[in-house]
Point group: C2
Chain length 204, copies 2
């Protein structure tokens, strides 16, 4: 049994691991407790429900994705467009060890839960919507820098950032269906073209 | 109770409806039978398992998507690029009545199941992979026509078609998370730019 002080963190880690490898419905509180090495009574000390744990796991994972992918990808050492393309390469690097360990492209924790639960669980859908809107805001800043730098024309930065996030999620989805993480590298270049195009204000 | 002659079709329709509105794990054989108005014993006359029913529902729905979206979208009355953009507008038209009826953007039946089940169910993952490869082949033909027509440069038609399918799935995913079908119209234009760009063979 884990020390109580670790219990909450262990449950969050188990939620991320088991739900990524299976699905939300595919994992019960009992299995989460067994994986975390925690008694079922302790679970309800920390979390009201599986949904409550999942909302906490989503919040924690959004920080991980921010630190591991978005912050380094969008850092100013490359041109704005190259930073956006780097999102895909760092996503590949992020997926690769999990793929090697499990034999499966596990995909995006947010995208997976979004498609499984959006019609069934409003709090989780809202949580994922907020994470995606924050991601769009980060990408939008970079698109605006690309416009200032003259790297792309006067595009609608908001719609372009939404299109880039959609493309990112779509490529991860396709990589998961094919169980082929390399697709993230193969299709990375396509994102620059979405950025260049967007809705050209100057050439509608 | 439905006539036996209708039972199989009713089960397929119930699988599509209930799994779209909830998820694969969120629906059991008992609920499928109740929704279809069929005795549980009859279920196993037609299908070995819920997975077996789902594989049949995926095959049937792939024909529906072909007839309702891909065939009319890619028909030759528009230029190749405009046909590809029409994929998004017809997807919006396809989602709209379901959204109005349920209050929910239900999303893509294939994408939903892909993210819920790809790590857990190889026969279903393979089935969706085959459907997606067929969709890529249709799009690829249109990309090749666009190249011949001089509408796009000498792109890598296969990678471009994969990128277009990924973008399509990603836009549907984002529309489902936001519960906002109109996003399909808003982001439709972005797909032309992926087609124009691809991996330019002439300008790598």
């Amino acid at each position: 049994m884990a020390r109580t002080s670790d219990a909450k963190e262990r449950l969050l880690a188990s939620a991320l691991t088991l739900v990524s490898e299976r699905s939300y419905a595919g994992v019960g509180v009992q299995q989460l407790c067994e994986h975390a090495g925690i008694k079922k009574g302790s679970f309800y000390y920390f979390f009201k429900s599986k949904q409550d744990l999942m909302l906490a796991a989503l919040a924690q994972q959004s920080q991980v994705i921010e630190q591991m992918i978005f912050t380094p990808a969008l850092a100013a050492d490359l041109s704005p467009l190259e930073r956006i393309e780097r999102l895909f390469h760092l996503t590949y690097e992020f997926q690769k060890p999990m793929t090697q360990e499990t034999g499966r492209v596990l995909g995006c924790f947010f995208g997976n839960l979004a498609l499984e639960l959006s019609t069934q669980d409003e709090p989780i859908r809202h949580c994922i919507d907020r994470v995606f809107r924050a991601a769009v805001a980060s990408i939008r800043n970079t698109v605006e820098e690309a416009i200032k730098a003259g790297e792309v024309p006067e595009v609608d930065a908001q719609a372009t950032a939404e299109a880039i996030l959609a493309y990112w999620e779509g490529v991860i989805l396709l990589a998961k269906v094919r169980n082929e993480a390399e697709l993230l590298k193969k299709l990375a270049g396509g994102v620059k073209e979405i950025a260049i195009a967007g809705k050209k204000k100057t050439n509608p």
